[in-house]
Symmetry: C2
Subunit: 347 residues, 2 copies
């Protein structure tokens, strides 16, 4: 075991503050990583404040982790010391169920082990995340990171990137298709970049006029101000696919109306209240409302390689870890374009 500096929440109401955690010594298949950058995901804040009711304290959040390999177990074949490597939202799963065998570890039948707040499968404790100096994980849950791209912009790909990439791939978004991206935040801005890179015609759907210029800069072909009835009307029955990244309450039916026949709207954000859907809104037009959760390990590696090839990173604001609590407050106000990333050298 080694002591590792970190930032942790001690309760749902306390700010994040310095804390020391124990990391296990690498086991035969483990990779030890010195963390360089860790992205700040809205899930971190939800969990720190126990808004999903499942937090365990002290809690070190962070699941958008990139760093350098500093040690490997005897049986590790995929990594060597000095490699650039990443850890995303998952650090373990059963490896035996159909989902795991299909590379969909996020849907592991026995429950995947999340990077923070998860119960280790061997009963050794609760996982702690990437707001820390180092992390140790099984090589099967460690990703190869290209050195072609700036690492601070790569970190958010481990959650925001794969969460948007996976549904775009699963529903075969590409050339000739009209895609709407709902909500321009950490997820939405990656959704726009990725859908554009796949050849789709991409429309940003937002109720903030201030996002129009950014949407264009990110590559969106159109911007629809959803609070403008005329603009909204112009895209009714228009989209083949809508990526809904909004995690506050909103009217799904309004956006289902923007789908054409056979259209699919995929939710990657989860508001605290149920969606209310008169099923007639699905029946007329054979529409689907679906959900998608991050992505499995093979697809996460595929996405990282794809982004390296297509020069895609997240737009980030790099912060010192002492500013994390202020960053949370700014995130709540939507005052970040589009992802905070902690420079772990500041810890």
């Amino acid at each position: 075991m080694s002591s590792t500096r970190s930032y942790a929440a001690q309760s749902a109401t306390s700010p994040l503050a310095p804390w020391t955690i124990k990391r296990r010594s690498p086991k035969p298949h483990d990779v030890q990583i010195d963390i360089l950058y860790c992205g700040v995901c809205h899930s971190d804040l939800h969990t720190v404040r126990n808004e999903w009711g499942n937090a365990v304290y002290p809690l070190v959040p962070g699941h958008e982790i990139v760093g350098r390999v500093t040690a490997v177990g005897d049986h590790v074949t995929k990594f060597k010391v000095g490699d650039t490597a990443g850890v995303g939202c998952l650090v373990d799963s059963c490896r035996e169920c159909d989902n795991c065998k299909d590379g969909l570890e996020q849907y592991c039948d026995t429950g995947a082990v999340f990077t923070y707040g998860g119960a280790e499968r061997d009963g050794s404790g609760i996982t702690q995340g990437g707001y820390s100096k180092s992390i140790v994980a099984h090589e099967d849950f460690v990703l190869h990171i290209s050195d072609k791209l700036p690492l601070e912009g790569v970190a958010p790909l481990l959650c925001a990137g794969i969460t948007t990439y996976s549904p775009l791939r699963h529903w075969k978004v590409g050339k000739g298709q009209k895609v709407g991206v709902l909500g321009l935040g950490g997820l939405g801005h990656m959704g726009v970049k990725l859908a554009v890179s796949m050849g789709a015609e991409v429309t940003m759907l937002s109720h903030s006029p201030s996002k129009a210029a950014d949407a264009k800069r990110l590559g969106a072909h159109k911007f629809i101000l959803t609070s403008d009835a005329e603009q909204a009307k112009s895209v009714m029955g228009y989209f083949d696919f809508i990526l809904d990244t909004v995690s506050v309450e909103h009217d799904y039916n309004f956006y289902l109306g923007m789908l054409r026949t056979n259209g699919v709207m995929v939710c990657v954000g989860a508001p605290p209240v149920p969606a209310q859907i008169p099923v007639f809104n699905l029946i007329f037009g054979r529409k689907s409302l679906a959900g998608s959760l991050i992505g499995g390990l093979p697809e996460t590696q595929e996405m990282l390689d794809y982004c390296a090839e297509h020069n895609i990173v997240s737009d980030v604001e790099v912060i010192a870890i002492k500013d994390i609590n202020e960053a949370y407050e700014r995130m709540l106000k939507g005052d970040v374009r589009y992802r905070f990333v902690i420079d772990m050298a500041t810890l």
Copy 2:
């Protein structure tokens, strides 16, 4: 124009009673059909009682129509006098929008013309349905009916058959898949027969223990009494596809829980209250909730041919038209196995 005997509702509260309507003389592309049988769909009752708020009176319901061609217009090429023919839920559409061109006339951008209660595109009036001696329709909306099968069992295929066939085909249900059919009524019993014929493992999901024997007789491989917690638990995370034929309020989340990863639940019934879906129930397992409306003309013909080839008809109780109001009351109690069909010789 010719006078045609029918049964009509004069208001949302009056019983169906004899009435005389006018049918147009066949235009160059029209087919005139002497109606032999007309199925009784739950939509007929919803519309007669104006439960969807769009009824126009006097109203002759009925959209599961089979009969004999008695006259054809000069330019008709697809039918000749004496042919057995059918009319389903649609009698016209724009023919020009993408949906119509794709053979999805039911989703016509300008609104398909439904067989009863629909506004004729030429402004000539409101369509009247199949509880009548004859009907006249454009040949493009008339179906060929095989004489291999008993016609009274074929009539319900025009709505109950295509409504269940279409989603099974669209979502590629077949061998190796586990399919749940929710609700054993007019739609559900066709869903079971069709899904079984396509090679899927089919489970009937019902809260009526009395349906178990019938489910087996119809070909279902399993029966799950949904009110039995142990039985329900045994199919959690089990199905690739659920066909939801229920049109009264029910808990969608309970059934979404029965889907495995990538599972799809398709609604063909529309309860009067919105579905309440916490989107987490879609996100975990990448599940989809979708809807489907009848089917287009090419697929309806395909379904009729398929049923003729596979010897599939609806289980029916043939009634005299004077008993239609009593049949409605019995239908409301679920006291029909599984479709009333009116013998139009009794009119």
